[in-house]
């Protein structure tokens, strides 16, 4: 299958600051991909390039096989909802109507349902909305557009946990009924981990992880127990992190652990705990830049 997004050796520099360096990735059609990373990792820069709002300083970007910048044919098939999206000074219902003109697959029924779900005041000017309500307007447009490529860049500023869960549930339900390609950029990793089929992690402008979400679970394990037993167990494994408290040790090693190793751990009375995506990011971001996490 032809990837929906295809980036090759993408770079973006601002003066002497590299925002993206040698980023290559492919997003397959019909998947939900998480673009993860800390603030300032390059997520927004990458998405702006995908949306044709910014030019790379090196490398190439193709969306639906074509360069996206100023390409009306590509941009109509894509919706891009960014954090703190700026809107012209319109009332909510006008902003929704304008969006409905632009996107060919627009669902008015879904839009009305989402406006009610998020309790948005239709007559109020967007400028007068709270931050969370403004984010909700972006979410309504992003979902109701039913665009072939749906890109959300941290779309939930000011939304509380309940409203974010509503967003995830509606996204999942509509994605199931109307499959499309979704890219969701976030630093709230554990909240979205189960929604993702594929994970791309950026750190300091570079891709440090690019793998199916299923493979990422078990990428690393924390082994804890009596220090001597822990050290014996991890002796021939790459160690990511070590912690010690008296006679107890807790060591994070690269996984996955095969069945024999798990049995040995039990025999040594060690407890094994897989790292969550959030913890993986922490380790990927704090390890030396040349050390890639492979899954």
């Amino acid at each position: 299958m032809t990837p929906v997004i295809s980036a090759t050796a993408l770079g973006r520099r601002y003066r002497d600051q590299a925002a993206l360096e040698d980023v290559s990735l492919a997003v397959e059609p019909g998947t939900v991909t998480g673009l993860l990373g800390r603030n300032g990792a390059g997520k927004t820069t990458l998405m702006r390039i995908v949306a044709g709002q910014e030019f790379p300083t090196s490398g190439t970007i193709a969306v639906f096989g074509e360069a996206p910048a100023e390409n009306e044919a590509v941009l109509r098939r894509m919706v891009f909802v960014r954090e703190e999206q700026a809107y012209p000074d319109l009332r909510v219902r006008h902003a929704i109507r304008v969006a409905s003109w632009f996107y060919p697959n627009w669902s008015e029924e879904l839009a009305q349902q989402l406006l009610a779900d998020f309790d948005l005041p239709l007559q109020r000017r967007i400028r007068k909305l709270s931050r969370g309500m403004r984010s909700a307007v972006g979410i309504v447009i992003g979902l109701a557009a039913r665009a072939e490529l749906t890109v959300f860049d941290e779309p939930y500023a000011g939304l509380d946990a309940v409203a974010r869960q509503l967003f995830y549930d509606r996204l999942l339900a509509d994605f199931a009924e109307h499959p499309r390609t979704v890219v969701l950029s976030t630093h709230l990793i554990d909240e979205v981990a189960d929604l993702l089929e594929h994970v791309v992690m950026l750190d300091r402008g570079r891709v440090v992880l690019d793998a199916p979400a299923d493979d990422v679970r078990g990428t690393a394990m924390t082994v804890s127990g009596a220090a001597t037993a822990v050290e014996e167990f991890v002796a021939d494994r790459p160690v990511w992190h070590r912690q010690r408290l008296g006679a107890r040790a807790s060591v994070t090693v690269a996984g996955p652990l095969e069945a024999a190793a798990q049995a040995r751990a039990r025999a040594l009375h060690l407890s094994l705990e897989p790292l969550s995506l959030q913890q993986l990011l922490f380790h990927a971001a704090s390890s030396p830049a040349d050390e890639k996490v492979s899954a």
Binding site: T31, L172, A176, P179, D194, A213, G218, R266, E273
Partner: protein, 127 residues
């Protein structure tokens, strides 16, 4: 919603929870199992992941697809699952129990009398 743990691939957990329901008889043979989208919404996971979980059980002939209607529990599925689990019982349950018993200095005779004295063994249904 049953909690999903980290580490084990999600699709494996979906397959295991459906298998649990079949072994427990909650899902009877011939019953329709939830669709991919229903599972995705219930567990709040990606539909592709749910589909992968269902396919694990289709490959094991535990579920069968009836074209245009949905996915159903195959006949003989419960017994096939139980046989598979009996084969793994020692490794999954006995070995860890024996390891812990050894650690605590509980010898085999004591262990046997503990098993015989347990309320489960005596037909009670609360441990």
């Amino acid at each position: 919603m049953p909690p999903l743990d980290e580490g084990t691939p999600l699709f494996v957990q979906i397959a295991e929870q459906l298998a649990d329901d079949i072994v427990d008889g909650v899902l009877a043979e011939g019953a329709r199992v939830p669709s991919t989208n229903e599972l995705a919404a219930f567990y709040r996971i990606n539909p592709a992941t749910a589909a992968k979980g269902i396919n694990v059980l289709v490959d094991e002939a535990v579920l069968e697809k009836r074209r245009g209607i949905g996915m159903f529990v195959a006949s003989g599925a419960r017994e096939r699952l139980r046989a598979g689990r009996r084969r793994r019982f020692a490794e999954q349950y006995l070995d860890p129990m024996l390891a812990e018993a050894k650690r605590l200095g509980i010898d085999t005779d004591t262990l046997v009398s503990l098993i015989q004295g347990s309320s489960w063994h005596n037909g009670g249904d609360t441990p």
